[in-house]
């Protein structure tokens, strides 16, 4: 049978199933195949905090969305064109996001009376006409997989578990994905259990063959590779990019990296990744708590290491006192906050931008710290190096903000050449800097206001630092009122004077009257929305802040040069408050705090409203 092949420019697929169904793995593999094929892509994993929520229930649904295209794309997509639903819960939880006419591939084997009633279905939606407005493919994924694996020496349970590979094979056929990578992956993953490896590969191939032969799928799709900037690419998630950025910062600064960290969702993968790379001289320390994590990192920084701690919002709250100590001892330190939905425990696996004000101000006393925010998953690499550059050059703790969406989302990344990376090396102080061979630990560099960094082991520079206010220059304990006022201002001036690149504005026509501004992970949805608005014939300018403290020097000028400034944030207006206070600009906020990224269509409508309103 010859099947029709249709050309598409982009597709959004969502794999959804029980959290034990292996949906994240399936999504990862489809992503790897798609990256290998050369499409541009963006991914959005979405999973419950529970490791194994009760099977078949709505809270237990785990999903993975992938957007891929023959052109450059900016987001994981608003609404799926295809939903793979491994059980009734997955269908019910995701149907609301699915536009009419989209494809549903449902595992009919799991639509049993018991599973249906578990999620409140009275009848079977695969059998009544309730899904008539979608293109339904009811496929017995489980039984087809078990049948395909009859000849293998594995348990029935293991055979059933391979159904995600059957689904992956089917989707791989449907979108003409290369399969060698997945075969190699499965061989490596199950190297110690060759029978399981063979069975999974067989299930994967059976899925592919099923697509080829079944009448349920009459069309397959081609999405041509995207034309991206020449170079070598890999797919990378935000957490992996951040870990690699920290390793690069260690190499480029010629300082050993010391990570003190306590496991917390969604930041733990940075700890895991860095733990694998001891051959770069990296020491990772899983501390007894968040406070010990940052404390150990600061202790290592005192000893001359590039000290780093990684956490999420609740951890930042616990680390605040130690960050204040780093502010006053003026030691380099990187604090990574992979933001998640709060307050308190909140929704650990969901994303948010609600820690900005805590990063800025969440300490006692006047304790300014630089704050940076990555814009995309791969930008986490660049911003990790930038955080290290600032920390080392200015001897200060730096807050680097990522979030759950960047951490787990992925995109193709053009791998930089090593000589494209900045040299951020610093020299320890080894000579006395005062009269008569004395050492003044708080004698500042007149240009950067940074203090010298003399590490233990350096003869003649023995000195004491601490949390008590210090006399300017000598660093001795001082309760002098004027000295305190001076030190408060010096610490602020040092942070205010950090060299930060200017804010750039994207405005293709150059005469837009509305600026849409963003920070952090909203870059993708905002840029995609701006494109839509422009495609519809309107004018809008876009600018994105990656340095939040200090702000780029031209920020006020940029804001004032537009009639209206729109600022979407996944919080209740934290940056808007800062900008209004600082620049007296009447920023228009758009806020949704749903634990999910903005959708491009949603923002396009908001931008259009702002353009059209008087």
């Amino acid at each position: 049978m010859t099947k029709q092949v249709q050309q598409l420019d982009r597709v959004i697929i969502r794999f959804a199933g029980d959290s034990g169904d292996g949906m994240q793995l399936t999504g990862d593999r489809f992503t790897a195949e798609t990256a290998q094929f050369g499409n541009d892509l963006s991914t959005l994993p979405n999973f419950p905090a529970e490791i194994r929520a009760p099977a078949g229930t709505l809270p237990g649904v785990s999903s993975f969305q992938l957007h891929f295209a023959d052109h450059d794309i900016l987001t994981p997509g608003d609404a799926p064109n295809v939903l793979v639903a491994m059980n009734p819960a997955a269908l019910k939880a995701n149907l609301g996001d699915l536009p009419r006419g989209a494809d549903i591939i449902a595992n009919i084997d799991e639509f049993t009376k018991r599973n249906l009633s578990k999620v409140g279905y009275d009848g079977n939606p695969l059998e009544d006409d309730s899904l008539a407005e979608w293109r339904l493919h009811a496929v017995p994924l489980t039984s087809l997989t078990v049948k395909a694996l009859e000849g293998y020496d594995i348990s029935k349970k293991d055979a059933e578990r391979a159904k995600n590979m059957f689904a992956l094979g089917l989707l791989s056929w449907l979108y003409h994905r290369p399969t060698e990578g997945t075969v190699q992956f499965l061989e490596a993953k199950f190297a110690k259990k060759p029978e399981i490896a063979k069975a999974n590969i067989a299930a994967f191939q059976a899925g592919w063959n099923y697509g080829e032969t079944t009448e349920s799928f009459s069309v397959s799709y081609e999405i041509k590779p995207a034309t991206l900037r020449p170079g070598t690419y890999r797919n990378i998630s935000g957490n992996q990019a951040l870990a690699y950025g920290l390793i690069a910062a260690s190499v480029q600064s010629k300082l050993p990296l010391f990570l003190g960290s306590y496991p917390i969702t969604p930041a733990s993968d940075i700890l895991h990744e860095l733990s694998k790379h001891k051959r770069f001289g990296i020491r990772t320390f899983q501390a007894e708590d968040e406070i010990a994590g940052v404390g150990a990192a600061l202790g290592a920084a005192f000893g001359g290491s590039l000290g780093v701690t990684t956490t999420s919002g609740p951890g930042v709250a616990l680390k605040a006192e130690t960050v204040g100590l780093a502010v006053t001892t003026e030691l380099p330190l990187i604090v990574v906050d992979v933001q998640r939905a709060g307050p308190s425990t909140g929704m650990p696996t969901k994303t948010e931008q609600t820690d900005l004000l805590m990063a800025m101000y969440g300490r006692n006393g006047e304790s300014p710290v630089p704050v940076l925010a990555a814009a995309t998953p791969s930008d986490c690499f660049t911003m990790a190096i930038e955080a290290a550059r600032i920390a080392l050059k200015y001897r200060t703790p730096v807050m680097l903000l990522s979030d759950g969406y960047l951490a787990n989302g992925s995109e193709p990344w053009r791998i930089p050449e090593i000589d494209e990376l900045p040299d951020i090396s610093v020299l320890y102080t080894t000579e006395p800097n005062g009269d008569d061979g004395t050492y003044l630990p708080y004698l500042r560099d007149p240009e950067t206001l940074a203090r010298p960094w003399a590490v233990p082991g350096t003869a003649g520079l023995e000195h004491r630092i601490g949390g008590i206010e210090k006399a300017d220059g000598t660093g001795n304990i001082s309760y002098d009122p004027d000295n305190h006022d001076k030190m408060v201002r010096l610490r602020q001036a040092k942070i205010d004077g950090i060299d930060v690149p200017d804010l750039t504005v994207e405005d293709p026509d150059g005469d837009a009257r509305v600026l849409v501004l963003g920070w952090g992970s909203t870059f993708g949805p905002i840029a995609a929305a701006a494109r839509r608005v422009r495609a519809a014939g309107h004018k809008v300018a876009q600018a994105h802040l990656r340095h939040l403290n200090p702000l780029p020097a031209n920020t006020g000028e940029v804001l004032r040069s537009y009639d209206k400034v729109l600022l979407p944030e996944i919080n209740l207006g934290q940056l808007a408050m800062l900008l209004r206070a600082r620049f007296l600009v009447d920023v228009i906020s758009y806020n949704r705090v749903r634990g999910l990224p903005f959708k491009a269509a949603e923002l396009a409508a908001v931008i259009q409203d702002v353009i059209e309103s008087d």
Binding site: A35, Q36, G38, G181, P225, R229, P230, G231, T232, Y233, R234, Y244, I247, A248, V251, P256, F258, G260, H277, K278, R279, F280, G281, R283, F285, A287, E288, D289, I291, A292, G295, A296, G299, A300, F302, G303, G304, S305, G307, E321, L325, T329, I415, P416, E417, I418, P456, G457, T458, A459, G460, E462, H463, R464, I465, G466, G467, I468, N476, I477
Partner: protein, 352 residues
């Protein structure tokens, strides 16, 4: 198996042949404890003991938390870090784990180490990073002006407990032994010879050493340890633990000994009532901490007998040593990693 550096705790720390004196370790800062504070005696003992170690002064670091005792680093002309309340063990852990060439000392008090910093203390002890933790125990909060502490006796009348404190105190020695500490000792601020002897053993032990130092706060808890200092009484109640020696103390008719008790612990009996063979010989190197723990319980009833000295000193690899061996193993043969190889690892594809 990893060779331990026990007994060679200073092996990785650069030494100097230059003669050092007490003066070399005094900083130019005015000491600001209350006149008569026990901290002065400890400071003087430490300053005069450090030259004995023969270490390069620049490779010695004192890290402290918050409290009266935590001002200690300012008065020593070494590297020093006066940190935040309770966190000194965590900060010192990062320093010592990344710099095995340093002799790192933590100065802390009963409130700092056992209340706000209790978690860091127990984890430092089990982890066994190369630290010497000196716990100044005055059984009171001094810097906040006289509230009861986690080592104050039950019923302590203080500003925050006008009708008496209700909570049972920690025994720091029992706590440390329970937390898997490899080196645990107790000494007294006023007994310089004993204090310095214990410090020497702590310094030479590679791994975390905990030294509890009874220290008198003459303002808020004066005389807490007077019984141990009274010439007429002290020799009758001070039980000096020495490795390999039978545990006997007291004089004349009041001489007493320690033997195994029928209930599985240890007990104090009149010396005259037991044969030599029955007397417990102190074994600080016993891998089983049970007897050391039992000895630590002889604190009670209060001041009837008080064991001091090294309760436990065992040989096990330190965390910093193991961590650095992992780094060395990862770089062995191939050397340091290549950043380009790392970034190009995994599935890649080329465009253009």
């Amino acid at each position: 198996m990893t060779d331990t550096l026990n007994g060679k705790g200073l092996a990785l720390i650069p030494r100097t042949d230059a003669k050092q004196t007490l003066k070399d370790f005094k900083s130019d800062q005015e000491v600001r404890w209350c006149p008569g504070c026990g901290d002065y005696a400890i400071l003087a003992a430490v300053q005069s003991f450090l030259p004995e170690l023969g270490l390069k002064r620049e490779n010695i670091v004192f890290v402290s938390g918050i409290g009266c005792s935590s001002r200690f680093p300012y008065y020593l002309n070494t590297y020093g870090f006066h940190s935040i309340h309770g966190r000194a063990p965590a900060i010192a852990t990062g320093l010592a784990a990344s710099r095995p060439d340093l002799s790192v000392w933590v100065i802390t008090g009963d409130g700092d180490a056992l209340s706000i910093g209790g978690n860091h203390l127990i984890h430092a002890l089990r982890r066994n990073v190369n630290l010497n933790i000196l716990l100044f125990n005055n059984r009171i909060y001094g810097l906040t002006k006289g509230q009861y502490s986690p080592t104050s006796e039950i019923g302590k009348i203080t500003k925050s407990t006008p009708m008496g404190s209700l909570d049972k105190p920690f025994n720091p020695i029992s706590l440390a032994l329970g937390a898997e500490a490899g080196f645990v000792a107790r000494t007294i601020d006023s007994d310089r010879k004993h204090l310095q002897g214990v410090l020497r053993q702590a310094a030479e032990h590679r791994g975390t050493s905990l030294v509890e130092i009874y220290q008198n706060c003459n303002i808020f808890n004066d005389g807490a340890f007077d019984t141990l200092k009274d010439p007429g009484v002290r020799d009758e109640i001070t039980m000096r633990l020495e490795h390999g020696r039978p545990i006997v103390f007291g004089t004349g008719d009041n001489e007493r000994a320690v033997r195994l008790s029928p209930t599985g612990g240890v007990e104090v009996v009149r010396r005259a009532e037991v044969s030599d063979a029955e007397i417990l010989v102190h074994d600080a190197h016993n891998p089983d901490p049970s007897l050391a723990f039992a000895l630590s319980r002889l604190d009670e009833p209060a001041f009837e007998h008080v064991p001091i000295g090294v309760f436990r000193s065992i040989d096990r690899p330190s965390y910093d040593q193991l961590l650095n061996e992992q780094v060395q193993a990862a770089t062995a043969g191939t050397g340091m990693g290549s950043l380009a190889d790392l970034l190009h690892g995994g599935d890649t594809w080329s465009i253009g």
